[in-house]
Symmetry: C2
Subunit: 186 residues, 2 copies
């Protein structure tokens, strides 16, 4: 098999485990069973590799949110769809999503806020629902953070090995109920 996809997989694993700064090109190459030089045939630098991988996950997640939220009506339904979609996607490519989840803060300076990052999208949905009186009023930034936190912290704890090996989807029902409760709580 060609080296590029093997490098991508290996890099995701190493970045997720050690962080971008803690990961070494040697380790990535070793895990991909490839020489270090091979990395630089496909990427200009370690950082470009990391940013490329992160942005792929970031865009995939943003697209997912837009698609799922656009397909149904009402915040309740949107919340349920989003939770389920996130769980499914994460289970399908856990390496990619745990990397995205755990290393988010490293890439904050990089993605320009065009309003298409996951957090802003959720904020927008909530703001709109408040306007339509579907939700009680409140700071949409905080409500969005709290609702997202229900998902991300659960996923993080799974990544840390605190929840066993069950798929994230196994908890989708509980998480959906919790998110909907957060949205309405005041």
């Amino acid at each position: 098999m060609s080296a590029k996809p093997r490098i991508e997989r290996a890099a995701l694993e190493v970045f997720a485990a050690h962080g971008v700064d803690g990961a070494t090109t040697k380790l990535i190459a070793a895990r991909a069973e490839v020489s270090e030089g091979a990395i630089y045939r496909h990427w200009k630098s370690k950082d470009e590799l990391a940013i490329g991988l992160f942005m792929a996950a970031h865009k995939r997640l943003s697209d997912l949110i837009e698609a799922e939220a656009g397909a149904v009506h009402g915040v309740e339904a949107k919340a349920a769809a989003l939770v389920k979609a996130y769980c499914t996607a994460a289970d399908e490519d856990w390496t990619l999503f745990s990397f995205h989840l755990l290393q988010l803060h490293h890439f904050l300076p990089y993605y320009q806020d065009d309003g298409r990052d996951p957090v802003t999208l959720v904020e927008t949905i909530i703001k709109y629902a408040m306007l339509k009186m579907e939700l009680p009023p409140g700071d949409p930034r905080v409500v969005a953070a709290m609702a997202i936190g229900v998902i991300t912290q659960t996923a993080q704890n799974r990544a840390y090995g605190r929840l066993g090996e069950d798929a994230l989807s196994a908890h989708a029902g509980l998480m959906t109920a919790a998110v909907q409760a957060v949205l309405k709580a005041r």
Copy 2:
């Protein structure tokens, strides 16, 4: 003033901003206005410095949880007390708590689980409340993760500058209501 506390402050800031691996001893020394050698008068290595700072925050948070939860009866009251206490402590020493929050994953391998880390403590409280029928049954690990996520994600977004400069306590009421809703949701 002596160098040690200045180094500690500088290290917290640099670790929080760049991560433990991304932080350099040169940068820490420069920010503390101290020579690099001064660091090694007080700590054996950069990692020991980082671990010391983290463990101090970790223990302080654990003690806080035990004290606050032990002082009142009933999950509802415990939840309210914990949220308020965390917000107050975080506002009092935001540098310390944002470092703890953002770099947690770096130190996971280090703290042995004697059941006294914050997450396990919350899990125990929830498990006990379920036994006493104060809460509907459900996986306590997941419920704890979700409840904690409400707080941590909000605090993280504040650290990322997404919530303005308001104190975290400004949102304590909203967060308390959300946490209590999560605990009861099913």
